[in-house]
Symmetry: C2
Subunit: 248 residues, 2 copies
DNA sequence: CGCTCGGTTGACTCGGGTCAAGGCCGGTGG
DNA sequence: CCACCGGCCTTGACCCGAGTCAACCGAGCG
Protein backbone atom coordinates (compact mmCIF):
# COMPACT_ATOMS: atom_id res chain seq x y z
CA UNK A 1 0.00 0.00 0.00
CA UNK A 2 2.49 2.61 1.11
CA UNK A 3 5.61 3.04 -0.89
CA UNK A 4 8.61 1.60 0.86
CA UNK A 5 11.17 3.79 -0.74
CA UNK A 6 13.37 5.57 1.74
CA UNK A 7 14.29 9.06 0.68
CA UNK A 8 16.81 11.48 1.98
CA UNK A 9 15.27 14.36 3.77
CA UNK A 10 15.63 17.80 2.26
CA UNK A 11 13.75 19.63 5.02
CA UNK A 12 14.85 17.32 7.78
CA UNK A 13 15.80 20.25 9.89
CA UNK A 14 12.21 21.02 10.82
CA UNK A 15 12.54 18.31 13.43
CA UNK A 16 15.63 19.89 14.96
CA UNK A 17 14.10 23.29 14.71
CA UNK A 18 11.06 22.04 16.58
CA UNK A 19 13.07 20.51 19.39
CA UNK A 20 15.25 23.56 19.74
CA UNK A 21 12.24 25.85 19.93
CA UNK A 22 11.22 24.08 23.07
CA UNK A 23 14.44 23.31 24.91
CA UNK A 24 17.96 24.52 24.23
CA UNK A 25 20.02 21.56 23.14
CA UNK A 26 23.76 21.07 23.26
CA UNK A 27 25.58 20.75 19.97
CA UNK A 28 26.12 17.05 20.59
CA UNK A 29 22.47 16.45 21.41
CA UNK A 30 21.46 18.25 18.24
CA UNK A 31 23.73 16.06 16.18
CA UNK A 32 22.39 12.94 17.83
CA UNK A 33 18.83 14.04 17.20
CA UNK A 34 19.52 14.90 13.57
CA UNK A 35 21.38 11.69 12.93
CA UNK A 36 18.63 9.32 14.05
CA UNK A 37 16.03 11.07 11.92
CA UNK A 38 17.92 11.23 8.68
CA UNK A 39 15.63 9.13 6.48
CA UNK A 40 11.97 9.55 5.68
CA UNK A 41 9.24 7.54 4.01
CA UNK A 42 6.81 9.17 1.57
CA UNK A 43 3.11 8.76 2.33
CA UNK A 44 0.40 9.54 -0.22
CA UNK A 45 -2.49 11.79 0.78
CA UNK A 46 -5.24 9.97 2.67
CA UNK A 47 -3.03 7.14 3.76
CA UNK A 48 -2.70 6.12 7.34
CA UNK A 49 0.52 7.01 9.10
CA UNK A 50 -0.51 5.31 12.30
CA UNK A 51 -3.42 3.02 12.80
CA UNK A 52 -5.57 3.37 15.89
CA UNK A 53 -4.66 0.85 18.58
CA UNK A 54 -1.40 -0.10 16.95
CA UNK A 55 1.57 -0.55 19.22
CA UNK A 56 4.18 1.39 17.31
CA UNK A 57 7.78 0.24 17.41
CA UNK A 58 9.09 3.52 16.13
CA UNK A 59 8.69 7.18 16.87
CA UNK A 60 7.34 9.02 13.85
CA UNK A 61 7.91 12.62 12.94
CA UNK A 62 6.27 14.47 10.10
CA UNK A 63 9.05 15.85 7.90
CA UNK A 64 6.92 17.48 5.26
CA UNK A 65 3.28 17.55 4.30
CA UNK A 66 0.24 17.79 6.48
CA UNK A 67 -1.48 15.24 8.68
CA UNK A 68 -4.11 14.90 11.35
CA UNK A 69 -4.92 12.81 14.38
CA UNK A 70 -8.52 11.62 14.63
CA UNK A 71 -10.97 9.37 16.38
CA UNK A 72 -14.30 7.99 15.27
CA UNK A 73 -17.63 8.40 16.98
CA UNK A 74 -19.68 5.20 17.09
CA UNK A 75 -22.16 7.00 14.84
CA UNK A 76 -19.50 7.04 12.14
CA UNK A 77 -18.61 10.72 12.29
CA UNK A 78 -14.89 11.38 12.39
CA UNK A 79 -13.48 13.91 14.80
CA UNK A 80 -10.08 15.37 14.02
CA UNK A 81 -8.37 16.04 17.34
CA UNK A 82 -5.20 17.69 16.09
CA UNK A 83 -3.36 18.79 12.99
CA UNK A 84 0.19 17.56 12.60
CA UNK A 85 2.60 19.95 10.93
CA UNK A 86 6.14 19.36 9.71
CA UNK A 87 8.43 18.90 12.69
CA UNK A 88 5.68 17.52 14.91
CA UNK A 89 5.65 14.08 16.43
CA UNK A 90 2.82 11.97 15.09
CA UNK A 91 2.01 10.14 18.31
CA UNK A 92 3.14 10.27 21.89
CA UNK A 93 2.05 6.78 22.89
CA UNK A 94 5.65 5.67 23.29
CA UNK A 95 6.17 8.04 26.22
CA UNK A 96 3.94 5.85 28.36
CA UNK A 97 4.59 2.73 26.30
CA UNK A 98 0.94 2.59 25.36
CA UNK A 99 -0.48 1.76 21.95
CA UNK A 100 -1.71 4.66 19.85
CA UNK A 101 -5.10 5.78 21.08
CA UNK A 102 -5.97 7.46 17.82
CA UNK A 103 -5.27 7.21 14.15
CA UNK A 104 -2.98 9.51 12.22
CA UNK A 105 -3.59 10.17 8.54
CA UNK A 106 -1.77 12.16 5.91
CA UNK A 107 -3.96 14.94 4.53
CA UNK A 108 -1.52 15.76 1.76
CA UNK A 109 1.42 13.85 0.33
CA UNK A 110 3.84 13.69 3.21
CA UNK A 111 7.19 12.41 4.33
CA UNK A 112 7.51 10.74 7.68
CA UNK A 113 10.73 10.10 9.54
CA UNK A 114 11.02 7.33 12.10
CA UNK A 115 13.30 6.22 14.89
CA UNK A 116 13.13 2.90 16.59
CA UNK A 117 11.93 3.42 20.14
CA UNK A 118 14.76 1.34 21.60
CA UNK A 119 17.31 3.31 19.67
CA UNK A 120 15.71 6.51 20.86
CA UNK A 121 15.71 5.26 24.44
CA UNK A 122 19.43 4.64 24.34
CA UNK A 123 20.14 8.06 22.81
CA UNK A 124 18.03 9.65 25.50
CA UNK A 125 20.18 7.98 28.16
CA UNK A 126 23.07 9.98 26.88
CA UNK A 127 21.19 13.21 26.16
CA UNK A 128 18.37 13.58 28.68
CA UNK A 129 17.56 17.00 27.23
CA UNK A 130 16.11 15.22 24.24
CA UNK A 131 13.55 13.55 26.45
CA UNK A 132 12.78 16.87 28.07
CA UNK A 133 12.18 18.33 24.63
CA UNK A 134 9.84 15.52 23.66
CA UNK A 135 7.90 15.91 26.89
CA UNK A 136 7.58 19.61 26.26
CA UNK A 137 6.20 18.85 22.83
CA UNK A 138 3.71 16.50 24.40
CA UNK A 139 2.63 19.18 26.85
CA UNK A 140 2.11 21.68 24.03
CA UNK A 141 0.11 19.06 22.17
CA UNK A 142 -2.09 18.65 25.19
CA UNK A 143 -2.53 22.42 25.40
CA UNK A 144 -3.58 22.55 21.80
CA UNK A 145 -6.16 19.83 22.33
CA UNK A 146 -7.57 21.77 25.23
CA UNK A 147 -7.70 24.92 23.20
CA UNK A 148 -9.70 23.05 20.60
CA UNK A 149 -11.97 21.91 23.39
CA UNK A 150 -12.45 25.56 24.33
CA UNK A 151 -13.40 26.28 20.75
CA UNK A 152 -15.99 23.54 20.54
CA UNK A 153 -17.34 24.38 23.99
CA UNK A 154 -17.57 28.11 23.77
CA UNK A 155 -16.80 29.68 20.42
CA UNK A 156 -19.14 30.17 17.49
CA UNK A 157 -18.35 29.13 13.95
CA UNK A 158 -16.62 32.37 12.98
CA UNK A 159 -14.39 32.30 16.04
CA UNK A 160 -13.59 28.62 15.64
CA UNK A 161 -12.41 28.95 12.09
CA UNK A 162 -10.59 32.17 12.88
CA UNK A 163 -8.90 30.67 15.87
CA UNK A 164 -7.74 27.63 13.96
CA UNK A 165 -6.34 29.78 11.18
CA UNK A 166 -4.47 31.86 13.75
CA UNK A 167 -3.05 28.74 15.34
CA UNK A 168 -1.93 27.26 12.05
CA UNK A 169 -0.44 30.56 10.99
CA UNK A 170 1.54 30.73 14.19
CA UNK A 171 2.74 27.15 13.99
CA UNK A 172 3.68 27.39 10.34
CA UNK A 173 5.65 30.50 11.15
CA UNK A 174 7.46 28.72 13.97
CA UNK A 175 8.28 25.91 11.58
CA UNK A 176 9.63 28.42 9.07
CA UNK A 177 7.00 27.48 6.50
CA UNK A 178 5.38 30.82 5.75
CA UNK A 179 5.42 31.95 2.15
CA UNK A 180 6.21 35.55 1.52
CA UNK A 181 3.36 37.85 2.42
CA UNK A 182 2.50 35.85 5.50
CA UNK A 183 0.54 33.27 3.54
CA UNK A 184 0.74 29.54 4.15
CA UNK A 185 -0.34 26.31 2.51
CA UNK A 186 -3.39 24.62 3.95
CA UNK A 187 -3.76 21.43 1.91
CA UNK A 188 -7.03 20.40 3.55
CA UNK A 189 -10.64 20.27 2.39
CA UNK A 190 -13.35 22.37 3.99
CA UNK A 191 -14.98 19.16 5.04
CA UNK A 192 -11.86 18.18 6.98
CA UNK A 193 -11.79 21.56 8.66
CA UNK A 194 -15.34 20.89 9.71
CA UNK A 195 -14.39 17.51 11.14
CA UNK A 196 -11.91 19.28 13.39
CA UNK A 197 -14.20 22.11 14.41
CA UNK A 198 -17.46 20.26 14.81
CA UNK A 199 -19.06 22.12 11.91
CA UNK A 200 -20.75 20.93 8.74
CA UNK A 201 -18.97 21.41 5.45
CA UNK A 202 -21.61 23.82 4.28
CA UNK A 203 -21.23 25.99 7.31
CA UNK A 204 -17.45 26.01 7.11
CA UNK A 205 -17.82 27.26 3.58
CA UNK A 206 -20.13 30.11 4.53
CA UNK A 207 -17.94 31.00 7.49
CA UNK A 208 -14.81 31.21 5.36
CA UNK A 209 -16.66 33.51 3.02
CA UNK A 210 -17.69 35.74 5.90
CA UNK A 211 -14.08 35.97 7.02
CA UNK A 212 -13.09 36.99 3.54
CA UNK A 213 -15.80 39.66 3.41
CA UNK A 214 -14.59 40.96 6.78
CA UNK A 215 -11.11 41.25 5.31
CA UNK A 216 -9.70 38.92 7.94
CA UNK A 217 -8.74 35.84 5.94
CA UNK A 218 -8.55 34.56 2.40
CA UNK A 219 -8.38 30.89 1.56
CA UNK A 220 -8.15 30.05 -2.10
CA UNK A 221 -6.44 27.24 -3.92
CA UNK A 222 -5.23 25.71 -0.70
CA UNK A 223 -3.39 28.86 0.34
CA UNK A 224 -4.43 30.93 3.33
CA UNK A 225 -3.43 34.51 3.88
CA UNK A 226 -4.30 36.68 6.81
CA UNK A 227 -4.35 40.35 5.85
CA UNK A 228 -4.95 41.46 9.42
CA UNK A 229 -3.62 38.95 11.97
CA UNK A 230 -4.28 41.09 15.07
CA UNK A 231 -7.85 41.63 13.98
CA UNK A 232 -8.44 37.94 13.47
CA UNK A 233 -6.81 37.14 16.78
CA UNK A 234 -9.07 39.64 18.52
CA UNK A 235 -12.18 38.28 16.86
CA UNK A 236 -11.40 34.70 17.75
CA UNK A 237 -9.73 35.18 21.11
CA UNK A 238 -6.42 33.74 19.98
CA UNK A 239 -3.45 34.02 22.31
CA UNK A 240 -0.40 31.97 21.23
CA UNK A 241 0.81 31.50 24.81
CA UNK A 242 -0.50 27.94 24.87
CA UNK A 243 1.78 26.99 21.98
CA UNK A 244 4.95 28.24 23.59
CA UNK A 245 7.07 26.45 26.10
CA UNK A 246 8.48 28.45 28.96
CA UNK A 247 12.22 28.00 28.82
CA UNK A 248 12.57 27.61 32.57
CA UNK B 1 -7.41 31.74 52.69
CA UNK B 2 -7.01 27.99 52.65
CA UNK B 3 -6.72 26.22 55.93
CA UNK B 4 -3.17 25.20 56.64
CA UNK B 5 -3.97 22.33 58.91
CA UNK B 6 -2.36 19.12 57.82
CA UNK B 7 -4.53 16.11 58.40
CA UNK B 8 -3.79 12.44 58.33
CA UNK B 9 -5.33 10.72 55.39
CA UNK B 10 -8.03 8.16 56.04
CA UNK B 11 -8.58 7.23 52.40
CA UNK B 12 -4.97 7.77 51.36
CA UNK B 13 -4.98 4.46 49.61
CA UNK B 14 -6.90 5.80 46.61
CA UNK B 15 -3.59 7.10 45.35
CA UNK B 16 -1.91 3.74 45.61
CA UNK B 17 -4.93 2.06 44.16
CA UNK B 18 -4.80 4.41 41.21
CA UNK B 19 -1.13 3.78 40.50
CA UNK B 20 -1.53 0.05 40.83
CA UNK B 21 -4.47 0.01 38.43
CA UNK B 22 -2.16 1.30 35.76
CA UNK B 23 1.17 -0.43 36.36
CA UNK B 24 2.00 -3.28 38.66
CA UNK B 25 4.29 -1.99 41.37
CA UNK B 26 6.75 -3.83 43.55
CA UNK B 27 6.02 -3.95 47.27
CA UNK B 28 8.89 -1.53 47.89
CA UNK B 29 7.69 0.91 45.28
CA UNK B 30 4.22 0.82 46.78
CA UNK B 31 5.58 1.63 50.18
CA UNK B 32 7.64 4.48 48.82
CA UNK B 33 4.64 5.89 46.98
CA UNK B 34 2.40 5.60 50.03
CA UNK B 35 4.95 7.13 52.32
CA UNK B 36 5.50 10.34 50.39
CA UNK B 37 1.77 10.99 50.15
CA UNK B 38 0.84 10.49 53.77
CA UNK B 39 -0.48 13.94 54.61
CA UNK B 40 -3.23 15.99 53.02
CA UNK B 41 -4.54 19.51 53.21
CA UNK B 42 -8.28 20.22 53.36
CA UNK B 43 -9.66 22.57 50.72
CA UNK B 44 -13.12 24.13 50.95
CA UNK B 45 -15.49 23.88 48.01
CA UNK B 46 -14.86 26.51 45.33
CA UNK B 47 -11.31 27.15 46.40
CA UNK B 48 -8.44 26.94 43.97
CA UNK B 49 -6.15 23.96 44.27
CA UNK B 50 -3.84 25.18 41.54
CA UNK B 51 -3.86 28.59 39.95
CA UNK B 52 -3.45 28.90 36.22
CA UNK B 53 0.11 29.73 35.21
CA UNK B 54 1.56 28.88 38.59
CA UNK B 55 4.79 26.96 38.61
CA UNK B 56 4.00 24.31 41.19
CA UNK B 57 6.74 23.07 43.45
CA UNK B 58 4.79 20.03 44.51
CA UNK B 59 2.84 17.26 42.88
CA UNK B 60 -0.75 17.33 44.05
CA UNK B 61 -3.11 14.39 44.31
CA UNK B 62 -6.76 14.56 45.19
CA UNK B 63 -7.31 12.32 48.19
CA UNK B 64 -11.01 12.89 48.69
CA UNK B 65 -13.65 15.19 47.34
CA UNK B 66 -14.20 16.33 43.79
CA UNK B 67 -12.37 18.86 41.64
CA UNK B 68 -12.10 20.09 38.08
CA UNK B 69 -9.56 21.52 35.70
CA UNK B 70 -10.71 24.52 33.69
CA UNK B 71 -9.74 27.33 31.39
CA UNK B 72 -11.44 30.62 30.63
CA UNK B 73 -12.54 31.90 27.25
CA UNK B 74 -11.72 35.58 26.67
CA UNK B 75 -15.49 36.14 26.62
CA UNK B 76 -15.61 35.10 30.27
CA UNK B 77 -17.18 31.68 29.86
CA UNK B 78 -15.44 28.96 31.81
CA UNK B 79 -14.74 25.64 30.15
CA UNK B 80 -14.17 22.67 32.42
CA UNK B 81 -11.68 20.41 30.67
CA UNK B 82 -11.59 17.53 33.12
CA UNK B 83 -13.02 16.26 36.36
CA UNK B 84 -10.53 15.21 39.01
CA UNK B 85 -11.58 12.28 41.19
CA UNK B 86 -9.95 10.92 44.33
CA UNK B 87 -6.68 9.26 43.43
CA UNK B 88 -6.12 11.47 40.41
CA UNK B 89 -3.20 13.82 39.93
CA UNK B 90 -4.32 17.44 39.82
CA UNK B 91 -1.83 18.60 37.22
CA UNK B 92 0.82 17.06 35.03
CA UNK B 93 2.85 20.18 34.39
CA UNK B 94 5.76 18.82 36.41
CA UNK B 95 6.34 16.03 33.88
CA UNK B 96 7.66 18.58 31.41
CA UNK B 97 8.65 21.06 34.11
CA UNK B 98 6.16 23.54 32.74
CA UNK B 99 3.87 25.78 34.77
CA UNK B 100 0.25 24.72 35.08
CA UNK B 101 -1.59 25.57 31.89
CA UNK B 102 -4.97 25.52 33.56
CA UNK B 103 -6.55 26.11 36.92
CA UNK B 104 -7.76 23.40 39.24
CA UNK B 105 -10.65 24.07 41.62
CA UNK B 106 -12.32 22.02 44.31
CA UNK B 107 -15.99 21.46 43.51
CA UNK B 108 -16.73 19.99 46.91
CA UNK B 109 -14.79 20.05 50.17
CA UNK B 110 -11.66 18.10 49.34
CA UNK B 111 -8.39 16.87 50.71
CA UNK B 112 -5.27 17.24 48.61
CA UNK B 113 -2.00 15.43 49.17
CA UNK B 114 1.28 16.83 47.93
CA UNK B 115 4.84 15.70 47.31
CA UNK B 116 7.70 18.02 46.62
CA UNK B 117 8.79 17.54 43.02
CA UNK B 118 12.45 17.15 43.97
CA UNK B 119 11.57 14.54 46.52
CA UNK B 120 9.48 12.75 43.96
CA UNK B 121 12.30 12.92 41.43
CA UNK B 122 14.69 11.21 43.80
CA UNK B 123 12.17 8.49 44.66
CA UNK B 124 11.62 7.91 40.97
CA UNK B 125 15.35 7.33 40.50
CA UNK B 126 15.04 4.36 42.74
CA UNK B 127 11.64 3.13 41.50
CA UNK B 128 11.31 3.96 37.80
CA UNK B 129 8.00 2.12 37.74
CA UNK B 130 6.50 5.01 39.62
CA UNK B 131 7.34 7.33 36.76
CA UNK B 132 5.89 4.86 34.34
CA UNK B 133 2.69 4.84 36.36
CA UNK B 134 2.48 8.62 36.37
CA UNK B 135 3.05 8.76 32.63
CA UNK B 136 0.30 6.22 32.12
CA UNK B 137 -2.01 8.39 34.20
CA UNK B 138 -1.09 11.34 32.03
CA UNK B 139 -1.87 9.37 28.89
CA UNK B 140 -5.27 8.36 30.25
CA UNK B 141 -5.93 11.96 31.11
CA UNK B 142 -5.14 12.90 27.55
CA UNK B 143 -7.50 10.22 26.31
CA UNK B 144 -10.26 11.55 28.51
CA UNK B 145 -9.78 15.06 27.18
CA UNK B 146 -10.03 13.75 23.67
CA UNK B 147 -13.15 11.83 24.48
CA UNK B 148 -14.67 15.04 25.78
CA UNK B 149 -13.64 16.64 22.53
CA UNK B 150 -15.53 13.90 20.70
CA UNK B 151 -18.56 14.70 22.81
CA UNK B 152 -18.50 18.39 22.05
CA UNK B 153 -17.76 17.78 18.40
CA UNK B 154 -20.22 15.07 17.62
CA UNK B 155 -22.68 14.12 20.34
CA UNK B 156 -25.97 15.78 21.16
CA UNK B 157 -26.96 16.89 24.64
CA UNK B 158 -28.48 13.58 25.68
CA UNK B 159 -25.42 11.64 24.59
CA UNK B 160 -23.01 14.11 26.17
CA UNK B 161 -24.62 13.94 29.57
CA UNK B 162 -25.06 10.18 29.31
CA UNK B 163 -21.47 9.69 28.26
CA UNK B 164 -20.13 11.78 31.11
CA UNK B 165 -22.23 9.90 33.64
CA UNK B 166 -20.93 6.62 32.25
CA UNK B 167 -17.37 7.84 32.51
CA UNK B 168 -17.76 9.06 36.06
CA UNK B 169 -19.51 5.84 37.03
CA UNK B 170 -16.65 3.83 35.64
CA UNK B 171 -13.97 5.94 37.28
CA UNK B 172 -15.71 6.01 40.64
CA UNK B 173 -15.98 2.26 40.43
CA UNK B 174 -12.28 1.94 39.69
CA UNK B 175 -11.54 4.16 42.66
CA UNK B 176 -13.73 1.98 44.86
CA UNK B 177 -16.13 4.82 45.55
CA UNK B 178 -19.45 3.37 44.46
CA UNK B 179 -22.19 3.25 47.04
CA UNK B 180 -24.25 0.12 47.22
CA UNK B 181 -26.67 -0.17 44.37
CA UNK B 182 -24.16 1.20 41.88
CA UNK B 183 -24.90 4.81 42.86
CA UNK B 184 -22.22 7.44 43.32
CA UNK B 185 -21.88 10.96 44.69
CA UNK B 186 -21.72 13.76 42.17
CA UNK B 187 -21.24 16.90 44.24
CA UNK B 188 -21.51 19.25 41.28
CA UNK B 189 -24.12 21.73 40.12
CA UNK B 190 -25.95 21.38 36.83
CA UNK B 191 -24.35 24.61 35.77
CA UNK B 192 -20.90 23.09 36.28
CA UNK B 193 -21.87 20.05 34.25
CA UNK B 194 -22.87 22.46 31.53
CA UNK B 195 -19.51 24.19 31.70
CA UNK B 196 -17.85 20.86 30.98
CA UNK B 197 -20.22 19.78 28.23
CA UNK B 198 -20.71 23.07 26.43
CA UNK B 199 -24.40 23.21 27.36
CA UNK B 200 -26.47 25.82 29.12
CA UNK B 201 -27.68 25.12 32.64
CA UNK B 202 -31.24 25.08 31.47
CA UNK B 203 -30.58 22.50 28.85
CA UNK B 204 -28.58 20.29 31.20
CA UNK B 205 -31.58 20.32 33.46
CA UNK B 206 -33.99 19.26 30.75
CA UNK B 207 -31.58 16.63 29.52
CA UNK B 208 -31.20 15.08 32.95
CA UNK B 209 -34.95 14.90 33.19
CA UNK B 210 -35.17 13.16 29.87
CA UNK B 211 -32.62 10.59 31.01
CA UNK B 212 -34.73 9.98 34.12
CA UNK B 213 -37.88 9.54 32.05
CA UNK B 214 -36.03 7.09 29.84
CA UNK B 215 -35.10 5.12 32.95
CA UNK B 216 -31.41 5.51 32.20
CA UNK B 217 -30.19 7.76 35.01
CA UNK B 218 -31.38 9.42 38.18
CA UNK B 219 -29.62 12.37 39.76
CA UNK B 220 -31.12 13.67 42.95
CA UNK B 221 -29.56 15.26 46.00
CA UNK B 222 -26.12 15.00 44.49
CA UNK B 223 -26.34 11.24 44.05
CA UNK B 224 -26.40 9.60 40.64
CA UNK B 225 -27.66 6.11 40.01
CA UNK B 226 -27.72 4.31 36.72
CA UNK B 227 -30.49 1.69 36.61
CA UNK B 228 -29.39 0.41 33.24
CA UNK B 229 -25.69 1.00 32.56
CA UNK B 230 -25.52 -0.93 29.29
CA UNK B 231 -28.50 0.98 27.97
CA UNK B 232 -26.94 4.30 28.83
CA UNK B 233 -23.60 3.25 27.35
CA UNK B 234 -25.35 2.26 24.14
CA UNK B 235 -27.25 5.52 23.92
CA UNK B 236 -24.18 7.63 24.46
CA UNK B 237 -21.57 5.55 22.69
CA UNK B 238 -19.53 4.93 25.81
CA UNK B 239 -16.66 2.45 25.65
CA UNK B 240 -14.40 2.48 28.72
CA UNK B 241 -11.37 1.33 26.73
CA UNK B 242 -9.95 4.84 26.70
CA UNK B 243 -9.79 4.87 30.50
CA UNK B 244 -7.82 1.68 30.80
CA UNK B 245 -4.13 1.22 30.45
CA UNK B 246 -2.85 -1.76 28.56
CA UNK B 247 -0.57 -3.62 30.93
CA UNK B 248 2.06 -4.33 28.32
C1' DC C 1 -16.43 12.12 -22.45
C1' DG C 2 -18.45 11.25 -18.40
C1' DC C 3 -17.33 10.70 -13.32
C1' DT C 4 -16.05 12.09 -9.13
C1' DC C 5 -14.61 15.35 -5.84
C1' DG C 6 -14.55 19.81 -3.81
C1' DG C 7 -16.60 24.17 -3.47
C1' DT C 8 -20.93 27.07 -3.59
C1' DT C 9 -25.70 28.44 -2.97
C1' DG C 10 -30.62 28.37 -1.44
C1' DA C 11 -34.59 26.76 1.35
C1' DC C 12 -36.06 24.68 5.27
C1' DT C 13 -35.72 22.68 9.99
C1' DC C 14 -34.46 22.11 14.72
C1' DG C 15 -31.48 21.58 18.81
C1' DG C 16 -30.18 24.19 22.10
C1' DG C 17 -29.43 29.21 23.82
C1' DT C 18 -31.60 33.09 26.13
C1' DC C 19 -34.71 35.47 29.00
C1' DA C 20 -37.73 35.53 32.64
C1' DA C 21 -40.25 33.95 36.47
C1' DG C 22 -41.33 30.81 40.21
C1' DG C 23 -40.26 27.15 43.76
C1' DC C 24 -37.38 25.02 47.20
C1' DC C 25 -34.30 24.87 50.50
C1' DG C 26 -30.54 26.15 54.00
C1' DG C 27 -28.36 29.84 56.23
C1' DT C 28 -28.45 34.30 58.70
C1' DG C 29 -29.85 37.96 61.47
C1' DG C 30 -33.34 40.34 64.07
C1' DC D 1 -39.10 31.83 65.97
C1' DC D 2 -39.58 33.91 61.88
C1' DA D 3 -38.49 36.91 57.84
C1' DC D 4 -35.37 37.37 54.44
C1' DC D 5 -31.99 36.15 51.00
C1' DG D 6 -29.15 33.83 47.80
C1' DG D 7 -28.13 29.37 45.39
C1' DC D 8 -29.82 25.94 42.75
C1' DC D 9 -33.31 23.62 40.31
C1' DT D 10 -37.37 23.95 37.26
C1' DT D 11 -40.48 25.49 33.69
C1' DG D 12 -42.33 28.17 29.71
C1' DA D 13 -41.92 31.16 25.57
C1' DC D 14 -39.27 32.67 22.06
C1' DC D 15 -35.31 32.92 18.85
C1' DC D 16 -31.28 31.94 16.18
C1' DG D 17 -27.02 29.55 14.73
C1' DA D 18 -25.96 25.80 12.50
C1' DG D 19 -27.45 21.22 10.38
C1' DT D 20 -29.63 19.00 6.47
C1' DC D 21 -31.11 18.31 1.91
C1' DA D 22 -30.64 19.22 -2.70
C1' DA D 23 -28.99 21.15 -6.78
C1' DC D 24 -25.28 23.13 -9.63
C1' DC D 25 -20.53 24.35 -11.16
C1' DG D 26 -15.78 23.73 -12.38
C1' DA D 27 -11.59 21.08 -12.51
C1' DG D 28 -8.95 17.06 -12.80
C1' DC D 29 -8.77 12.44 -14.64
C1' DG D 30 -9.35 7.59 -16.39
Amino acid sequence: MNSNVAVSVPGGDVWLRRLSSVVSLSRAAQEAAAEIMSLGRPIPARDHIIRDGNRETSIKVLISGFACRYKFLPAGRRQITAFVLPGDLCDFGFVSSSPASQGVMALSPSIVGAVDVDRFASIVEEYPDLMAAVLRCAAIEQNATQELLLSLGGRNALQRVGHLLCELHFRMQSAGLLRDGQAFDLPVTQSELGEALGLSTVHVNRTVQTLRKLGLATWRDRVVSLPNPPGLAALSGFDPAYLKSEMA
